[in-house]
């Protein structure tokens, strides 16, 4: 089965007066129908840029320099604006980070869910409203009939994010991009939203591109994970393998940054376990060397890391690839 989404050598540049600056470099990944891939990495590594590039919504100044984005075989990177508009919200759609501001304050929830249905599927008002109601029920909003006529300001953050999901899935897209869908929500609601996404995915066979900092969610609902650092993919592979046995020092560092809960006697006995961090910052745009961009922050870096060009993703095991000259030993995990 050919993948629903196939990103090939995607390179995005920021046009500056001093010359173009790479933002994403030769990014490649595949996503099958009904599957989920996670993009992880620190802020500023190009995760959201990848999402916007796929949607054809790059901000002013950013250009898709080269590469292909095949959505069900169609290269959206080369699609004209009208074709892109026809695809957006229909074949591919997106959930944003901030549910508090991503809904139009002057229209009811129902009107906004109807928007995509009427734009893309030519449904009449009544038919679109019925679908909107069904979608609100599908995202498990209580008292959906009344909520249909509610304005966004009357809903809580979690409710609004459910409405956003309903909007995004109304046309049964082949691809759903969720850009940190739970960052603005509180923890109990986060879990509900991820569960909901997983349930709806099973029903609709939508492929999900998940951008998140929540590693628990990555482990829980994704099959593949791609680790981005400074606009480059440094490690990619099946989620269980990458999370269980990370090979790139950055991936290991990232995993170590998330707290591990130890309960009961073990917690009392264990010495205080300070949350680890990766020293330093992501190099800003325009200051990314051709050599390994992570080398300055890497404990394993040697002269060869800073002098030679960053190696391409090298296959370690089937599907698992890493871009590092000194990958961690498999046993290290």
């Amino acid at each position: 089965m050919s993948p629903i989404l196939s990103v090939r050598d995607l390179t995005v540049m920021l046009k500056r007066p001093s010359g173009p600056v790479p933002v994403l470099e030769r990014l490649s990944f595949d996503l099958d129908r009904g599957r989920t891939i996670a993009l992880v990495g620190e802020s500023g590594c190009g995760k959201s840029m990848t999402a916007l590039a796929i949607m054809g919504l790059l901000p002013d100044g950013f250009v898709l320099e080269s590469g292909a984005i095949l959505l069900d075989g169609e290269d959206v990177a080369k699609a004209p604006p009208a074709r892109l508009r026809a695809l957006r919200g229909n074949a591919m759609s997106m959930i944003f980070q901030e549910p508090m501001t991503a809904l139009n304050p002057v229209f009811t929830v129902g009107d906004q869910i109807c928007e995509a249905l009427r734009l893309h599927q030519g449904l009449g008002r009544r038919a679109a409203m019925e679908r909107a109601l069904a979608m609100l029920k599908a995202v498990q909003i209580p008292a959906a009939e009344q909520r249909l006529h509610a304005y966004p300001h009357a809903l809580s953050g979690g409710m609004r994010q459910r409405v956003m999901i309903a909007m995004a899935l109304a046309c049964r897209p082949k691809l759903l991009i969720a850009d940190e869908p739970t960052t603005a929500l509180d923890v109990t609601v986060q879990a509900q939203v991820f569960d909901l996404l997983k349930d709806l995915q099973q029903e609709m066979e939508t492929a999900i591109l998940l951008i998140t900092h929540d590693l628990g969610a990555v482990a829980d609902i994704t099959e593949t994970v791609a680790v981005l650092y400074a606009g480059r993919c440094v490690e990619q592979g099946p989620t269980l393998e990458v999370m269980g046995a990370p090979r790139h020092p950055y991936t290991r560092g990232l995993w170590a940054c998330s707290p591990h809960l130890t309960l009961g006697a073990a917690a009392a006995a264990a010495a205080p376990d300070p949350l680890q961090e990766i020293p330093g910052l992501v190099p800003p745009l325009g200051q990314r060397p051709a050599s390994c961009a992570f080398a300055p922050r890497c404990a394993r870096a040697t002269a060869v890391c800073t002098h030679e060009v960053q190696p391409p993703l090298g296959v370690i095991s089937p599907d698992h690839a890493v871009s590092c000259r000194h990958p961690e030993e498999r046993a290290a995990a």
Binding site: L57, G89, F96, A134, Q140, A144, Q146, A150, Y151, D199
Partner: protein
């Protein structure tokens, strides 16, 4: 959608949702709760009713000679006569039609041109913005009254010409206001979200951004009505009104030479203009308070 509906029954306990009024209904409620706005609305309503129904009820043509010139008010006719012996009350009632029609129509023209320029400039930015704003600045640098006088002189002293001329000279501030609102709104998340839903630029401008940009534009339109009434008065006062259509400004202009000897010939039309402008200003301010969420007290 059957697959979805089977999924439907919500597990979460359903709290009864608050019934929420639409933003429009909330604004209307706040507007009606404001005595100042109500007063303005009553003044305007009274003037509009008088202008619409008054001439038929009173039955005297404003352009007919009704008696001796300069008859003082109090007897017959009630508000006296002007320098030609025309009935002042008939002039007020009939002139109200022209003045109010000019006021509302030119305000509408102002808003249409202004929003068209401002929305396109603010939404697209870049070259379109630069070009449209240069045009706006060009119009803004022309002295409005002189420009309107030139237009009326060129195209004839008709009420239609006056109305369009006032609209043409008054739109730049509305355009700048609309542009500022569009600049602010176009970067907001819900606009991005609508874009991600596949909305076309026209849809984004008209259906997504404009309803959010409407409040300040509505307020400025209300205030533009008062300005336009004054403008028509000024043009007529200078002798550039339509001589065949009675208006408050025309009465002022034609009787201005006798203002010291026959005060009633200018006081009543002047007072009518004052009331109309006051009414629109009060309504505009109350609209502003009702619509502006920062001033809103729930």
């Amino acid at each position: 959608m059957t697959a979805i509906e089977t999924h439907a029954p919500a597990a979460a306990p359903s709290a009864p949702p608050r019934t929420v009024a639409s933003p429009g209904a909330t604004a209307l409620r706040l507007f009606l709760a404001n005595p100042i706005g109500l007063a303005g609305l009553m003044i305007l309503t009274a003037l509009v009713i008088a202008a619409l129904a008054g001439p038929q009820l009173y039955g005297v043509d404003a352009l007919d000679i009704a008696g001796m010139p300069f008859q003082p008010p109090g007897e017959d006719p009630l508000l006296g006569t002007d320098y030609l012996g025309r009935d002042i009350l008939a002039g007020l009632l009939q002139g109200g039609r022209a003045s109010l029609a000019v006021g509302f129509t030119s305000a509408l023209i102002t808003v249409i041109i202004g929003v068209a320029f401002g929305s396109v400039a603010g939404f697209f930015g870049g070259a379109a913005d630069t070009l449209l704003m240069k045009v706006t600045e060009f119009f803004q640098t022309l002295p409005t009254l002189l420009f309107a006088m030139v237009l009326v002189t060129l195209f004839g002293q008709h009420l239609t010409v006056t109305t369009i001329a006032i609209g043409i000279v008054s739109w730049p501030p509305t355009a700048r206001l609309a542009r500022a609102e569009f600049l602010r709104l176009r970067g907001l998340d819900f606009v991005k979200a609508a874009r991600a839903c596949g909305a076309t630029p026209a849809y984004l401008i008209l259906r997504v951004i404009l309803p959010n940009a409407a409040p300040p534009i509505i307020v400025s339109a209300t205030l533009a009505v008062g300005t336009a009434i004054l403008f028509e008065g000024a043009l007529s006062f200078l002798g550039l009104g339509d001589p065949n259509v009675m208006s408050w400004g025309l009465m002022l202009g034609q009787n201005r030479a006798y203002a010291l000897d026959a005060w009633w010939t200018v006081l009543f039309p002047g007072g009518a203009i004052f009331l109309a402008v006051l009414g629109t200003s009060l309504v505009g301010d109350a609209f502003n308070d009702a619509i502006n969420p920062r001033l809103r007290k729930r």
